[in-house]
Amino acid sequence: MTRRQIPTTKRRHSKRYLTKRKPARATRRGGMLGPFRRWSLMAVWVLALVSTLCGLAYTAYLDHRVRDRFEGARWELPARVFARPLELYAGKALSPEALVEELKLLHYEAAQTEAVPGRYRQQGDTIALHTRGFPFWDAIEPARHVRIDFRADRVTGLFAVQSNAPLDLVRLEPVAIANIYPTHLEDRLIARLEDVPPLLVKALLVVEDADFYSHRGLDFGAVARAMLANLKAGQIVQGGSTLTQQLVKNLFLSSERSIWRKVNEALMAGLLEWHYSKDEILETYINEVYLGQDGARAIHGFALASQFYFKRRLSELEPEQIALLVGLVKGPSYYGPRQNPERAKARRDLVLSELEEQEILSAGAAAELRTRPLGVADKAPSGVTPFPAFLELVRHQLQDHYPEEALRSAGLVIFTSLDPLVQIEAERAVAGQLKELEASRGLPAGSLQTAVVVTAVETGEVLALVGGRDPRLEGYNRALDAKRPIGSLVKPVIYLTALSRPREYSLATLLDDQPLSIRTSDDKTWSPQNYDRKYHGRVTLRDSLVASYNVSTARLGLAVGIDEVIATAQRLGAPRDLPHYPSLLLGAVEMTPMEVGQIYQSLAASGYRTPLIAIREVMGPDGEPLTRYPLKLTQAADPRAVYLLNAALYEVTRQGTARALQSRLPAHLKVAGKTGSTDDLRDSWFAGFSGEHLAVVWIGHDDNKSIGLTGSNGALLVWADIMRDLPTRPLNLNTPDDMEWLLIDTQNGLLAADYCAHAQWMPFIKGTAPTASAPCVRSNPVQSAGDWFRGLLN
């Protein structure tokens, strides 16, 4: 009898359970004569009646428990958090290497043939792959077999392999980036019975409960067989519990072995079978069963176990992998393939033999499968998120709609905007540059701290977030929580305030960069200094920003009004609590990198503010849409003023404090940005954008000591490394109507000609440019004559 060969996990029947049935029969004696006996008999009847009623009431109570558990949510399910899905289409900037990196995050396997989901094959500039499909918020993306052609780090073609027809758009499944677990740390993925491979069901029934589809929850034949087997063996080698009993035990009962528990188990198994179909019970069992342990996290259900051991979906499992999982039911720790590979293999092979015996597998097939290695992935996919900083942002933004308890237990599916490829790039840049900076500046290794925020310029989606130099470390999230003085990063806000008054200010307006001393409200003297400790006389508004002069900027800020500057900042998205001091004009105002990111987002998007957001949609456990986080726009500034400002911020990266970017970025990659440094060089900032990405980088010490780095020789280097390696498009300053470009003499802010020594092209809102010409122009009589005739024509 093969049953004996396969010890199972079934609850071993305690002797108490088997023997204590007898007393029940003994009570049936009675019905004797005599008054005492008669009274006794009455008492017995009353007792029997009362106990029957109690029994009925108790059964009703159990019935309520069983149904209560089955009708609603059966488990507390962790929330699953996903990255953005990678969209594939012809024309997308994406290298084959980047796609392979994404596929590895999705646990795709490189293979000779990619005919089944979860496999890919790369041949030079072509990658063929079979997607797995995914139920998204808006639609179910089907599994597809596609071919992708690349040239020069761009997708040039996307085809369905079978028909060779071009495809417009294919969405890969999203990378799982985190789970938010119930407090009891049970982790579980729910599979529907129709998605479970038939072989798994057959194997499970053969090994654990062959008569599942015919019994009523209890299988007395199995109990008898088990008893016989146990007697023969002289020890407990077999249990007689059905799957239903095992399920009842797992769902409702403690693990203690007592007659009372056994009675409950039998009663509830019967009730379960009475109320629910076999398939429902089987599906629940498949999702409930405990199959492994990952530290404190308990692995429940075959679907999760499949990922935990093989990094595959259930449908992708090989027969021998199915056999291993089914074998594990008996003892996930004892037969654990990572801890005890020999035991696991013996157990797996035993299951395969049983399948052969039952003619579910042919002899030849079973023999071949027994020769295969276990195929277990070396490392279990971690239950701990690799991106804790980003996850914290997600939780923060979910707070408004979902209490913590719902996150931990409601099985929510959360789609975020994280782009793992951008995130990994940002982490690489941070790791490389911080090490280099410490080495070249003689700073102790590991002393610098950092934070990075990367967003999509027009949609405001947060693509990457680095909260510290060790991005895996959960804890102090500098991107969200480190409020630091922002230094010169505040300047664009002052200039935008001025440029929003085109009748008063243009890029050519001359500012005064000579000593300034003012008395503040607390009766102190405030005398801003330039970084180079010099004064630069009269400078154009543009040059003052490009060179980041402090004195002329402070004067400009005082002229437009500190309150006005604060109002502009808040329209752009700055936090509410900005201090009304003159020193605010030089950046003595503390913000987090995220807050800075919000302000620069509005600038990068031509004056349209969109809240920085990390979540796209939230779905319920059955795929029902719950919440969407739509794109929201607010016009925060006049796009024409922002255009003027951004033209100057572009010059910052060409000739100004960020000109080091010229040698660090490819020539075609135009960007705009601003450096920021603070007193005693405690903080090094850079905030800037291309036509597609915005990034804010901060470097400093947690204890606020000097790091000896300015924005341009610290944060800028990290920023440049990130931008250089991203597939990003160059700056796209979308020119509003009624703008004109004119040559200006920077010495006096007047119209120049291209032969003038200090001529610069500058954009103007039409009608706001200076009308007088610079002396260098007037000195040319031919030009003057030309001007005269032009005036006549107009």
Binding site: E87, Y89, A90, G91, K92, W137, D138, D168, L169, A456, V457, E458, T459, E461, S606, Y608, E617, R628, P630, L631, K632, L633, T634, Q635, P639, N646, A647, Y650, K670, E692, P730, L731, N732, L733, N734, T735, P736, D737, D738, W741, L743, D754, Y755, C756, A757, H758, A759, Q760, W761, P763, N780, V782, Q783, A785, G786, W788, F789, R790, L792, L793
Partner: protein, 161 residues
């Protein structure tokens, strides 16, 4: 009073002088100015309205289908998906504006239409549509004057925001 012929004659002479000036201009100094405009822009590269990219067209179709079925939020999600692919496609912002207007979200409708206009510099037809959306959005919010002004711009304006 000089006749028109005389004016034209003087103008011609002026043009000749300007040309002459170009020929005899002094040698350039050691800080040559960059050619205008030194800032890269989308419009300068292509003056005509650009057709949407294939994946964007597919998503616009999807969104329009969803909109017809009254699944407006679904349609908005499809447009946003397209915007992630090409945020500089003015037609997408216009479609999103129209959907938001249909949902009664006047503030977002106006902001999106205005954004669309800022990107649609060479597409008069789209600008007109955007101004009409702005007009309706303003009317929904009870801003009758603003609505009329927007309608006026839809009729006459070159679409500048």
């Amino acid at each position: 009073m000089p006749g028109p012929h005389l004016v034209r004659g003087i103008a011609a002479a002026g043009l000749f002088l300007i040309c002459l000036h170009g020929c005899v201009a002094p040698p350039k100094t050691d800080t040559p100015a960059p050619p205008p405009p030194p800032v890269p822009t989308a419009q300068e590269q292509s003056e005509a309205p650009q057709p949407s990219a294939a994946p964007v067209v597919a998503l616009i179709k999807k969104a329009q289908g969803e909109r017809r079925e009254g699944r407006l939020e679904q349609a908005a999600a499809s447009v946003e998906r397209a915007l992630r692919i090409d945020p500089y496609d003015s037609k997408l912002w216009n479609l999103l504006a129209a959907i938001r207007l249909q949902q009664g979200n006047a503030a977002q409708a106006e902001a999106m239409a205005s954004k669309s206009n800022s990107l649609a510099r060479n597409d008069r037809r789209l600008q007109r549509e955007n101004w009409l959306i702005i007009a309706q959005a303003r009317r929904q919010r009870g801003d009758e004057d603003g609505a009329r002004e927007a309608e006026q711009r839809a009729r006459t304006d070159d679409g500048a925001t």
